[in-house]
Symmetry: C2
Subunit: 366 residues, 2 copies
């Protein structure tokens, strides 16, 4: 079996070796501060007795599962704390395929490239549904693409890379389609705290035994390197997922889980609101400059990416390398996200220099 | 697909809910101090800039891979830092099966129960080779059990649960058998720092493209909850393993990796020697008391377990529960490790109360 290494790493490597000053807008790494209580949690943990340094319970620290369950309105037994959303999606997709109801995973195009990578690794096949230009997913198109062979539909809202946020009707319909085909909706909601326009709707709001919700604290607490995420399974699907988690990772990292628990308990809503405000400002600054440059772009409703299109300049890896060298701005090639966005380039708004970046792009394309 | 949840968790849960005082000798959680530099590493990390809280490189922090590579005499490109030895073994076994040279995994009996669990999860089949009563693995028996369908031989030395340490000739022969059958030796060496009799030999000392070595800092630094381990692959096997690691976990926990790097750099050999001395004392105290009780046992050459057998008292889960309730000592049923040790019970020497535990057992069986 061969896997394709995500392009992210090739682009980041190229950007880091470039000669001039490059504004890095490649990867979804927040550049803002984690909550102070998270740092306090780590400091506190460093002084604990040796037994606190040993295996946490395999599905996660008990209090952390309870905290997540209370916030999400589910039973703690349904929660598996994972090594980030990456492992959460892996467990969810594996669980769907293990039901032996089919091998097909229905994905949106454009797609977050880890999903097709995981599908291949798990022995499944990909079926793509093109989204509208604004990134919205049409449930009718998903229903048409789905079949008796569908094991899962993977949805991501707020969406990476398009910034689309699916309305409640879409989420409800996606769950219904999963039920119709005896499949599972895997709803990756890792950007839920970056619902910039207030349209977000969680799949947890739709009661069903056919949906798994995945999430992480990577983005909401600005700690992509801590690797603390979770998946919420229907009761009859959770046991095998816990076993797989145990057989792959034994457990997650306890200092990370401890610090996240502290941060969840002590961080007030202002923290999240401030980060949303920051992103709204950056979206405005970046898109205003893109307007001035005559570029097309999608106005994100959520997450922290803007996809832009420059005339006669397709979103190839070659062009992205050229922009790094010639314009001093690093984005992600649209080709990384599937066929439908091959003319586009994705920019992550994780730098205070978004306006400068857009100005550089404008100057380059002038 | 169904997996059996390791018995560990059932026994630990039972022990934790018992009424009286129970000496916990179930799981391999060190009860001694991690190095102070590890704590310092965490404290230092807590004060770093936000960019240090984001994704580490997927195969691990660069300096940590370099440090491991230098210590093990390999190229850093061959090293994948994993979420503990658990993920390292998972990646190694998956990589062996992906070579499409067979579906069979050759395992020793008694066996560390995660190996057969991972085998089933990965779609392989188990073939067992019984070890001698002292836990030694006879290469001739492994050669006989192996076949053209063999994907991997999984060896663990120092061994959990027997305490056997395989001599250099055994390790050399296991690599040779893997080569003969175009298979891979997966050598799990997580207890290498607990080579109590000085007989340990790493598979890294045998040059071959047919061996993968796995390890972790869980036991050597007394941090099973940090989840930092590694696998060393032959150059032609490493790329796909990195891809799988990325697709499953994205990356490991950065605070954990940072603290481990600090500890590796600053912990002197005395730390490891002190812990070996402590274990040698505990082995002596525990086995002396077992002698007095007339029990049979295996004298461990490494790792930190003693397997004991009491007359007419097989190592069933039921009997282990009874010992928890009636004797106040919690061990692991021998049945958890395969057929050949079903008369035995494993005790982990991770409590200062080993002598008291043996006395309690002696009193119970008197």
């Amino acid at each position: 079996m061969e896997y394709e290494t995500p392009l992210f790493f090739r682009v980041m490597e190229y950007a880091s070796q470039a000669e001039g000053d490059v504004i890095d807008m490649v990867s979804g790494n927040p550049d803002w501060e984690p909550p102070e209580s998270l740092r306090d949690g780590l400091r506190e943990y460093a002084d604990l007795e040796p037994d606190a340094f040993q295996y946490p319970p395999s599905p996660g620290l008990h209090e952390l599962r309870e905290e997540i369950a209370a916030r999400r309105g589910v039973d703690a037994e349904q929660v598996v704390v994972t090594n980030g959303a990456g492992e959460a999606n892996y467990l969810a997709m594996a669980r769907a395929l293990e039901r032996d109801r089919g091998d097909e995973i229905v994905l949106a195009d454009p797609v977050y490239p880890y999903y097709p990578g995981k599908t291949t690794m798990l022995g499944g096949t990909q079926t793509y549904v093109s989204t509208a230009e604004n990134g919205q997913l049409d449930p009718a198109a998903v229903r048409e693409a789905a079949s008796e062979d569908t094991a899962a539909i993977v949805a991501n809202s707020p969406n990476n890379p398009t910034g689309a946020v699916y309305p409640e009707e879409t989420v409800r319909e996606l769950v219904a389609i999963a039920e119709e085909y005896d499949a599972v909706l895997v709803s990756d909601e890792v950007y839920d705290h970056f619902d910039l326009a207030g349209n977000f709707s969680s799949a947890l709001e739709v009661e069903s035994d056919h949906r798994i919700v995945t999430n992480a604290f990577s983005k909401s607490l600005a700690i992509t390197g801590f690797r603390v995420g979770y998946a919420i399974f229907p009761p009859e699907l959770v046991e095998n997922a816990k076993s797989r988690h145990m057989l792959v990772n034994v457990a997650g990292s306890r200092p990370s889980q401890y610090a996240v628990l502290q941060a969840l308990r002590e961080t007030d809503p202002d923290y999240y609101e401030r980060n949303r405000d920051l992103l709204r400002e950056r979206v405005d600054a970046f898109t205003d400059a893109l307007d001035a440059a005559g570029a097309s772009y999608t106005e994100p409703e959520g997450a922290f990416y803007v996809m832009a299109r420059f005339e006669d300049y397709p979103g190839t890896l070659e062009n992205v390398f050229e922009l790094i060298d010639e314009a001093g701005v690093a984005g992600m090639p649209g080709t990384a996200f599937g066929d439908s966005r091959s003319d586009w380039i994705r920019f992550a708004l994780v730098t205070p220099r978004v306006e400068e970046a857009a100005d550089r792009l404008a100057a380059y394309f002038e």
